[in-house]
């Protein structure tokens, strides 16, 4: 996977120079493009090890090379490797035992879920569509549970966010904060902390695109206005305790966002090659 002269330092100029002084310089022009900015050796080391684990370079339960060996093979120092290993351990992908070594953890031990970096053949929009689809599923389910389990406090919180968006709409100001709060309040009304936390996590992946709903362009196209009527309908269904309807409304609300993305993908495809 790594040729001798292909070390991390290649993309980090100052380190490369230091290595050059030591007679360990790597020749330029290898497979590594500087486009992906690792910005830190540890980031890069983490990426590499992560990749090697993905492709089953070591079997489950097998012992990884020692920190020293890894450091040498990647051309960095032990602290850098330690930081990378620490992250892998935090993700639950490896386990380390003092005095013994680092071992590939059982796949059934994953402790964290990360958004997969979009595959090379995917555009950003396509990756966003996938996340949006997942969000659609989870939020619709959360809305259904919310309709069944919401109490008065939940309704008040949801209504407050709704009114916040309402007044933002009247004054044509940014209502994205209340938009966030609205979806989050519904998720909490499901009285399932895992669902609530996951909805918030997914929502966080959309901080940019959600703002686009509330900027000048969004107002111009009327996205915010349409979205608000969706929100009102969802609230009504939840307040009425109509789980099926809340689910349906929430589903179609996110569907609009998916449709917008699909349009963007279509236009991107038709103008492909200009970049």
């Amino acid at each position: 996977m790594l040729s001798d002269n292909q070390t991390l330092s290649t993309v980090l100029p100052h380190v490369a120079r230091a290595l050059a002084d030591a007679g360990l310089a790597a020749h330029a022009g290898n497979g590594m493009n500087a486009i992906d900015r690792p910005s830190s050796l540890a980031d890069e080391a983490y990426g590499r090890l992560s990749l090697q684990l993905d492709m089953n370079l070591w079997k489950v339960g097998e012992k990884l090379p020692t920190e020293m060996a890894l450091a040498e093979s990647l051309g960095v120092s032990r602290p850098v490797i330690r930081e990378a290993l620490a992250r892998l351990r935090a993700d639950g992908r490896i386990e380390t035992r003092q005095g013994a070594g680092a071992f590939v953890a059982d796949r059934n031990k994953l402790a964290a879920f990360r958004m997969v970096a979009q595959a090379k053949h995917q555009s950003d929009a396509e990756a966003e569509r996938e996340v949006l689809e997942l969000r659609q599923i989870v939020e619709a389910g959360a809305a259904e549970l919310a309709a069944q389990r919401r109490n008065d406090a939940d309704l008040i919180a949801i209504r407050a966010a709704l009114e916040g968006m309402h007044s933002a709409l009247e004054q044509r100001t940014d209502g994205s904060v209340h938009d966030d709060a609205f979806h989050s309040a519904i998720a909490h009304a499901s009285h399932n902390s895992q669902i609530a936390k996951f909805v918030e996590f997914l929502g966080a992946q959309f901080s940019d695109s959600r703002k686009a709903t509330w900027d000048d362009i969004g107002y111009g196209v009327g996205i915010a206005t349409v979205g608000q009527s969706d929100h009102a309908a969802i609230y009504k269904a939840i307040a009425a305790g109509d789980g099926a309807k809340a689910k349906r409304m929430s589903h179609s609300h996110v569907q609009r966002a998916i449709d917008r993305i699909d349009q963007r993908i279509a236009t991107e495809k038709s103008t492909k090659g200009n970049v």
Copy 2:
């Protein structure tokens, strides 16, 4: 949050001794109970900082104390703090800029979703129920998409897992591997990599309870048998391209697991106080 004498080293004997030699000993008998086994200073430091971030000790965008300051206040060295900060950065909770410092990141930057450790007032079973409910939502949605998008290769993979479980059932052996593969194959048939990855992540949280379906007790109660007819129905719906039915079947399949948990919770509650 931390009194002067309340350092991490208090719970790590050998370090405490080293500190004692240096005249920096912390007195024992403080608020720290040794029940939570940090096992590593970095783990503990990560936990503390994580907690402090949770309770908004620093506002978003605010600068955290320097690594040296943090190290001193927690009674550990800089590498330990660096490892903890590295994990926080990997989670997207802080951002560090070389030469400037570490800053609290916008909440909308969370890069990883972790299963929340069950709250103290919750039993294990209740926490498991919450995850199961989330799984129900996502897997049902995945099954629906799978029915709409599956191709021949997908069907073959699902069928292979189904037959694996079938023969395991006949020989009363452990079919949990095929069980895993079955749900995973359906998720992949949705042709949404985010959904596929998340389903696998959720499935990983159930390695234990899934095995319980396939052990002697599971066979005795007939869980595996009932589950298998569920699986067959789900496969049939997906093969037929009937999204609504696939969704319904998948939903009720997980519902059985939820019902079992509910029963366990009920019996646990009735025998409470014996521990």
